[in-house]
Symmetry: C2
Subunit: 103 residues, 2 copies
């Protein structure tokens, strides 16, 4: 499944920081790296993971690699998680009702 990639990608705090940076606007790699306490190549590696999880994508403009949020990927993940939590809670609810009946 693909949501595994997204779960994994968002499991790392640095990648979440990058993702949240990109919520404001599309950014070039140098800009993303500035402010982060790690080297630029490390950032590139994180970007790769986020990209493969389809949470962001890349458009190259001249010499700049601009990363931006991947709308489709994000929507897919949100939908997946909606179901994920709903399933969890509805089963919980069903179980609670069962227990209730036994009283």
């Amino acid at each position: 499944m693909n949501s595994n990639l997204a779960f994994n990608a968002l499991g790392d705090p640095t990648r979440r920081a990058i993702f949240e940076k990109l919520q404001h606007r599309p950014m070039a790699v140098v800009d993303i790296a500035s402010g982060l306490p790690i080297s630029r190549p490390a950032v590139s590696q994180h970007l790769k993971v986020l990209k493969e999880a389809k949470l962001i994508n890349l458009k190259t403009v001249g010499n700049n690699n601009i990363y931006e949020l991947n709308r489709e990927g994000i929507i897919a993940m949100r939908n997946y998680l909606d179901k994920f939590w709903d399933d969890a809670l509805s089963n919980f609810k069903a179980l609670a009702e069962q227990t209730e009946k036994k009283k």
Copy 2:
């Protein structure tokens, strides 16, 4: 922040498997461990992480430690994520509209 714990907890595939097992019903540690390709103590450690992330909680019944989903924690995480995705998408949308206007 606390959602960090949940992100981290769900970042591991084994912990997701455990979490999904508990969607069906509350289970004792032995039952959770059976079927998983890792040792029982390893499962205990994963359970600890999930518990600290408030995704599950523990009720002790006699000699059995029964883990079950933590409803409040899950709802909190769902709400957090709803906002997380909404923020991401709405900023994306605002930006798209800006770009649109420039045409």
